[in-house]
Symmetry: C2
Subunit: 350 residues, 2 copies
């Protein structure tokens, strides 16, 4: 299968299309893939995301040297991926408010890269290889729309639960970018104005509750309250060291306290989805990002609480809430598909 | 000016197009207008909305006799409007979850009408006059898109602040209805899960804070706290009797306590608009409904708080927040435009 409008879709033997590189740049790590013309993942690599060196992360726009460190790490990753598979175009998904010119205006979860045009800087660092950039959740949505769980939908919603929460709004079968390219920032819906402070500068944003960061917070609270024995044991006995992974593993082993935390996480995920369904009425919701990998342990409570929370639940057709078929690779694969569709033009999809 | 695709737009002398009736059916009152082929309002009438006779209003679907009472009141209003202006088609806007078949599935603010097809029932009561029905906020958006403050926009948001809050999402210059016709129910975004109970069965919905009902609640709280002298005086001295109108009038006279309540209302309006802008990135927000009539006293704090609350405010192009040009008539005029565009077909726009 291949993206509409690519040479492969136009009838050329798909393996004749050059492989492309896709990067999913997250707040904590970067996933890079090489995607063949036939949409097979030929290679996959992960590196840590360089963190801002100076200044408070809240609401800041990065210094040039911070962004340089990110671009350099991305360039190294691309060269490593290209060593075996040849120099193809590069696609990149990044979180935050990316405008139609490719400028990352604001990025609470990737402050080190904000304030510049990362795609152009990466292209220069790579000696002019075309680099195509889009919002990370838009990339995931493109992958799911082309190859995955949103195939054939006209009106759908993609939500990625990672360090933060990304979103993409699909209307008339296309990803909607809004008036300035900034649509889909669903993680920053405020769901509790008296809630915890968010790196965006706000308070009580949805992603404070329903993301990896939200799970970590719920886990820490439960651990300090003394209700999370299994997960605390996995963390070496120190409640301060409990992370989301420990809770997910302990819950999978049936630890009651950890299952209660996953239920609580599911409630918050469902709350935000219910808000979005009230506004958009999609035919389907696709949930991706690292957190979706925990599977039914999360999806079951999400579906149950969603039915309770959505307006007029009993009077409304069911909205299927399904995992991203491309899993944790959706963002990187979608970034590669975006680069392939853009062809030799570098720049932004916004 | 006239709706695209109408005979008037196609070049016929606009006054040759028969007048149509538009009804805006709210939770507390119904506004009916007669709209000429040249888009002039020829007549205007208001009646009270019949209230449900039995059972608790929370989450209920109306008994047939309740809906009958509403339909009868609408039929009387239409006949009165048609007496002078002749029998034209009828358009109707109603609040709540109206599906693509015209069935009002769920309506927290118009429970007396839920559970049936009000348009078909009204058409039968009127001896077969075509009746076209749409969500009330979609009607207001159609009026603003055709004749008012949203003219020429591609991506916009319409919000109506009345008894509850209605919404319409405009993408690619058209009102988006979602997969099942239920999009735009923005009033039921939850903005505080521990907030007051909502007639929808939820808790802390946006319309509990930022609608006419929200203003009444804020006013009552301030009155009982003893900070609302001017408005309490207008209410005859009894804090229990303070309503939104008293606050608006006292605020217009400079009453400090009432101005503080309007600020608080503005903060809540801004919070929900900021949520919607994060998701949709519209080029413009049009605010209508009865509450918009208080004007700058509300719009000034809304704009100020919106700039603070929206994600990445300083890094984002300004989103103008403007009053509906058709004011409190937007819903009724849009309902009439919908009926004219539908022509002799009765039914739903969903």
């Amino acid at each position: 299968m291949s993206a509409p409008g690519t040479p492969a879709a136009a009838g050329m033997p798909s393996e004749a299309v050059a492989p492309v590189v896709g990067l999913d740049v997250g707040g904590t790590k970067v996933l890079g893939v090489v995607l063949s013309g036939g949409d097979a993942v030929l290679a996959e690599l992960r590196v840590a995301t360089p963190q801002p060196s100076t200044g408070p992360p809240v609401g800041r726009v990065a210094a040039d040297q911070d962004r340089s460190a990110v671009v350099e790490a991305l360039a190294l990753l691309v060269r490593e991926l290209q060593r075996e598979h040849g120099p193809g175009a590069v696609g990149m998904g990044i979180p935050g408010m990316l405008d139609r010119t490719g400028m990352l205006r604001f990025s609470p979860n990737l402050p080190a890269a904000a304030g510049g045009d990362v795609a152009t800087e990466l292209s220069e660092r790579l000696g002019g290889v075309p680099v195509h950039v889009d919002n990370d959740a838009n990339c995931a949505a493109l992958a799911e729309l082309t190859l995955g769980a949103a195939r054939g939908t006209r009106t759908a919603l993609m939500v990625t639960l990672g360090t933060g929460i990304g979103g993409a709004v699909i209307v008339d079968g296309a990803i909607q970018r809004g008036a300035h390219g900034l649509a889909g920032e669903v993680g920053h819906m405020v769901v509790d104005p008296s809630g915890p402070a968010c790196p965006c500068g706000g308070r009580g944003c949805w992603e404070r509750y329903a993301s990896g960061a939200g799970l970590a917070r719920l886990a820490r609270e439960a651990a300090l309250a003394g209700t999370l024995f299994g997960a605390v044991a996995l963390a070496g006995g120190d409640p301060e060291l409990v992370r989301g992974e420990h809770v997910a593993r302990a819950a999978a082993d049936g630890d009651v306290g950890s299952l209660a935390v996953m239920e609580s996480l599911g409630w918050w995920v469902a709350l935000g989805l219910a808000n979005l369904v009230a506004v958009l009425d999609p035919e389907r919701i696709v949930v991706g990002g690292g957190l979706a990998a925990v599977g039914e342990m999360l999806f079951a409570p999400v579906r149950r609480f969603f039915a309770e929370l959505v307006e007029g639940g009993p009077h409304r057709p069911e909205v299927p809430i399904v995992p991203a078929e491309l899993g944790a690779r959706a963002g990187a694969v979608g970034a590669a598909l975006g680069a392939r569709a853009a062809g030799p033009r570098a720049g932004s999809a916004g």
